[in-house]
């Protein structure tokens, strides 16, 4: 459900007494009262915490999200605050906020802006915070949105009374003005509920002059539900950043340069075609494919392919019937389990713990470290030049086809094969039983554990 500012929202209330009271308004049941507040301070006096209430018999429960005052860094005059209160039952009400005036302080001026919001999440407050400035003519308050479709709000106090505040890029004025010349207040929101989960949202405010006493608070209101769902497509064709929670047969594509962060589930595809970084947790039949250069971090599970066509780094724990394949130059780290294949077709390094019918293959030059240790018909093969270190057991095979070094502990197992086809060094544990192909005139040394196939006149050493 999308967020909306409800028509019942009352107008700003400003006061030279300690309390600002809104006009009567009737928020709908299930809505949220977002209460933005800005107040004066007396020079060098730290105020007490402002308070808020309503005229209902059973008051709403107000949560003070943030309060910024001269007691907080950068210790400037003025103060700002915001509260939220869920509205369970619709009823006519006024809301009153009262400044926590310091002892002996006559500076009671304040302003209250209530926004009635519908479509909010059960936990409606996402990112929030407070800040201030000793010299600024603009505010650009950024935060990382916690939900797609969220909306940001900001309450500003300009104690200097620098000028008329206006909304900056992407933002809309709710109310601004001066309270008897004592301070300027400004309440603003993002024009639309344009927050994207994990993305940066900025609240931009023009102060109208340079203020040396600015205080503000900000809050992100989170929508109920939210995010992209069924068969939606999120595509950014140019350069930039796309953060997308893609679910159920959805594709999130970043064609240009940039970063794509997409948890993709259920037959979803996350594709980074250009240069950049793709961080994607792809699960169940999903494919995470960056074809350009960059980095891919993929947790690929169940029937998933994590493939990197370009250069870069692929870090993919691939499990159950999965292939993790970088075809270009780079590195592949893939613990492949159960009939999985970890294949590095280009140059680079492949470290693969391949078990149970798995194969770890390095076709190009490089280093292959493969622990084909648990059982069953696993294959560790290095076709190019390099080094292959593999503990292959139980019908497992370790094969070095090209030049290099093969270290194969085919220990204590049944009919394991350690084959060095090209030139190089084959190291065999002394206690291993190694059977070589028959060579005429070769005689095994009794007790060495090595023997040849039966040849005339040669007696095998039982192992």
């Amino acid at each position: 459900m999308a967020l909306a500012i409800d028509a019942s929202s009352p107008a700003v209330a400003t006061s030279s007494t300690a309390t600002s009271t809104t006009a009567s308004h009737t928020p709908p049941a299930g809505s949220l009262s977002l209460d933005l507040w800005s107040g004066n301070t007396h020079t060098a006096h730290n105020p007490a915490t402002p308070t808020i209430t309503d005229n209902l018999g059973a008051h709403l429960t107000y949560t003070l999200n943030d309060w910024q005052s001269r007691a907080d860094s950068p210790n400037r005059e003025g103060q700002a605050a915001d509260w939220t209160a869920p509205v369970a039952t619709s009823a006519a009400m006024t809301v009153s906020a009262t400044s926590g005036v310091a002892a002996g302080d006559s500076e009671k001026h304040n302003a209250l802006q209530v926004q009635v919001i519908t479509g909010q999440h059960a936990t409606p407050v996402g990112a929030h915070g407070k800040s201030g400035s000793a010299s600024a003519s603009t505010i650009a308050q950024s935060y990382t949105a916690t939900a797609t479709g969220s909306q940001g709000f900001i309450a500003v106090c300009d104690w200097t009374v620098a000028g008329t505040m206006t909304a900056g890029t992407g933002c809309t004025l709710i109310a601004q003005g001066s309270v008897a010349g004592q301070f300027n207040y400004g309440f603003f929101r993002r024009t639309t509920a344009d927050g994207t989960s994990g993305g940066t949202t900025t609240l931009n405010v023009n102060i109208g002059g340079t203020s040396t006493d600015l205080e503000w608070t900000y809050v992100e209101i989170v929508p109920a539900g939210g995010g992209s769902t069924v068969n939606a497509t999120a595509t950014i064709a140019g350069a930039g950043s796309l953060t997308s929670a893609v679910v159920q047969q959805v594709t999130a594509s970043l064609t240009g340069a940039g970063a794509l962060t997409a948890p993709a589930r259920l037959s979803s595809g996350t594709a980074l075609v250009g240069v950049g970084a793709l961080s994607s947790a792809v699960v169940q039949g999903s494919g995470g494919v960056p074809t350009g250069a960059g980095g891919l971090a993929v947790t690929a599970v169940q029937g998933v392919t994590a493939a990197m066509v370009g250069a870069g780094v692929l870090n993919a724990p691939a499990v159950q019937g999965v292939r993790a394949t970088p075809a270009g130059v780079g590195a592949l780290t893939a613990p492949a389990v159960q009939a999985s294949g970890a294949v590095l077709a280009g140059s680079g390094a492949l470290a693969a713990a391949a078990t149970q019918g798995s194969g770890a293959s390095l076709v190009g030059a490089g280093v292959l470290l493969a622990a084909g240790s648990v059982p069953g018909a696993g294959t560790a093969a290095l076709s190019g030049a390099g080094a292959l270190s593999a503990s292959a057991t139980q019908l497992a095979g370790v094969a070095l086809v090209g030049l290099g070094v093969l270290t194969g502990a085919a220990a204590g197992q049944v009919s394991g094969v350690a084959a060095l086809v090209g030139a190089g060094v084959l190291t065999i544990n002394l206690n291993d039983c190694v059977i070589t192909r028959p060579f005429a005139g070769v005689t095994s040394r009794p007790g060495s554990g090595s023997t040849t196939r039966p040849n005339t006149g040669i007696t095998d050493d039982p192992c």
């Binding site: 500012i5 409800d6 028509a7 929202s9 009352p10 107008a11 700003v12 209330a13 400003t14 006061s15 030279s16 007494t17 309390t19 600002s20 009271t21 809104t22 006009a23 009567s24 005229n55 006024t94 104690w159 200097t160 009374v161 620098a162 000028g163 008329t164 809309t172 004025l173 709710i174 109310a175 601004q176 003005g177 001066s178 309270v179 008897a180 010349g181 004592q182 300027n184 002059g209």
Partner: protein
């Protein structure tokens, strides 16, 4: 704008949920601080129609006697006698308590 000095004219604006505005402007004499005029400008369709100064007997702004009512019009101008009739004689009467807008 000057810190600590009430602007002349003194302007207060509010917008409704569709950013439609209502503005009240008070002109006052810098000599004796008396109000010389008040004007209410209201965007078409703006939900707020009345300027509410102070609180009424029930503690809400809605029942205040110092209300400038637009009656649905886009522009309403009030003279000093009309302002005096609702207890607004000087700019200090305007800023002494609170200001908001109502339906």
């Amino acid at each position: 704008m000057t810190k600590g000095v009430i602007d002349n004219p003194y302007v207060v604006t509010a917008t409704d949920y569709l950013s439609r505005a209502i503005t009240v402007t008070f002109n006052w004499s810098p000599v004796n601080r008396s109000l010389s005029a008040a004007r209410v400008d209201r965007d078409a369709g703006c939900l707020y129609q009345n300027v509410l100064i102070g609180l009424g007997p029930d503690g809400t702004p809605d029942t205040t006697v110092s209300a400038l009512r637009s009656n649905g019009n886009g522009v309403v101008t009030l003279t000093p006698p009309q302002l005096a009739a609702i207890n607004l004689n000087t700019i200090d009467d305007v800023v002494a308590t609170q200001i908001t807008f109502g339906l």
